[in-house]
Symmetry: C2
Subunit: 220 residues, 2 copies
DNA sequence: TAGATTGTTAATCGATTAACAATC
DNA sequence: TAGATTGTTAATCGATTAACAATC
């Protein structure tokens, strides 16, 4: 069947910028700012105004010529495009500092992510409550994740157990995994894996720092 | 002197991929793998092999035709390009769960980042030791950061104090700030600011999840 | 209406890829 | 030497931007 899979493939870069716009729009809306122009949004996001308009045009006509965009309305539109217009259940594995930080993080709640389960293998932690969530045994991952229909998993465990935990999450039918460990994790193609290494961001920034300092010493 | 400032501006995308290569190279080296081809590196990083070779060509000739790249040697080369070939001091502000997670995170140490100072405003925490680091008073940020020549700052504080802390770090002469709070922080142009919102990564992944599920149900 | 800002086109720019000669 | 893989070219592809007509 040669039917169109999706009216044009939406460029990857556009998808990466949508959450950026959304953040600014929510920020503006909360500040009581009802409308915003692409020029103003450009200042906040450091994305070219023409590109913002072009990105949004991929999905429809959300602005009003001569006026701009309604912050609340556009925020909701973007949320709908992303799928962030309803609650998304998240399971965090690892009740160490990172895991606890994720559970308490207010930025997740803002975007509809609800940490619904927290797992650990430490019997001292299992059964205790952290930020309103009871810590469950990692042995129960399959059961709990499948039962509650949790779709997002966050790996906040030591590198040496990351793969084993990932396997369990996948077996339980999880759809996406955010890996905060330094381990190389392999998952089936049906599961989206996102590795987020804090060091990578520091290294990235370091390059520009090194370059600018190297040039400061040079003649030009 | 009409010397080359830097032979062409190195594309941003190249810089983003260097840490990715570096991670894989260190991984391979630690596994006892002495050489690697661009084809193999492509499997690990999901970057096209031709692009890997092209990216590296921006900085020199690191491979051996018919053989591949020496993992250890190339890792060191990339570290030198980035500036990660020597220790980089980091100050973490906020000794909550996230701050503690950063201090303990082994991925930073791997890349030469050394958390050298940890600040908090809680008098109960000030003076205590976390993972070998004494918690200092946020009031002493300027003094300590300037004195030790710390160049990287990590904001692991609540959103409402993020800007105030950032101002202090900038006043102390910090060169780069990684912002983990949900606050919109403004810094002078001389300081590199990197916002890392965990929600953004989740939202990004959510889009593809939503799309694939929407298509599974739809006729086309 | 006059001013402002979107949606969209057309031009530019840069990144990606395939292919292959160079060479280990 | 034969096989393998780099470094690099040339072609493609896609993203970015400037500009402007449409229109609120």
């Amino acid at each position: 069947m040669p039917s169109v899979q999706q009216d044009q493939v939406t460029p990857h870069g556009v998808i990466e910028r949508l959450p950026l716009y959304l953040n600014s729009l929510i920020h503006l809306r909360n500040e009581g700012c009802g409308t915003v122009s692409s020029a103003r949004l450009s200042e906040l996001t450091e994305v070219n105004p023409a590109q913002i308009r072009r990105d949004l045009a991929h999905f429809g006509h959300f602005g009003l010529r001569g006026v701009g965009y309604d912050t609340g309305k556009l925020a909701r539109e973007i949320q709908q495009i992303i799928g962030a217009d309803r609650e998304q259940l998240v399971a965090v594995v690892g009740a160490g500092h990172l895991g606890c930080a994720m559970v308490q993080y207010d930025g997740l709640r803002t975007h509809g992510f609800v940490v619904d389960a927290l797992f650990d293998n430490d019997s001292d932690k299992i059964g205790t409550t952290i930020a309103g969530i009871v810590v469950s045994d990692v042995a129960d991952i399959e059961e709990i994740v499948a039962q509650r229909g949790i779709r997002f998993g966050v790996l906040a465990v030591p590198a040496d157990v990351a793969q084993a935990v990932a396997d369990r999450l996948c077996a339980a039918g999880i759809r996406a995994i955010i890996n905060y460990s330094t381990a190389f994790v392999v998952v089936p193609e049906t599961v989206a894996l996102h590795n987020t290494d804090p060091a990578r961001e520091l290294l990235h920034t370091l390059y520009y720092l090194t370059k600018s300092e190297g040039m400061a010493g040079a003649k030009r």
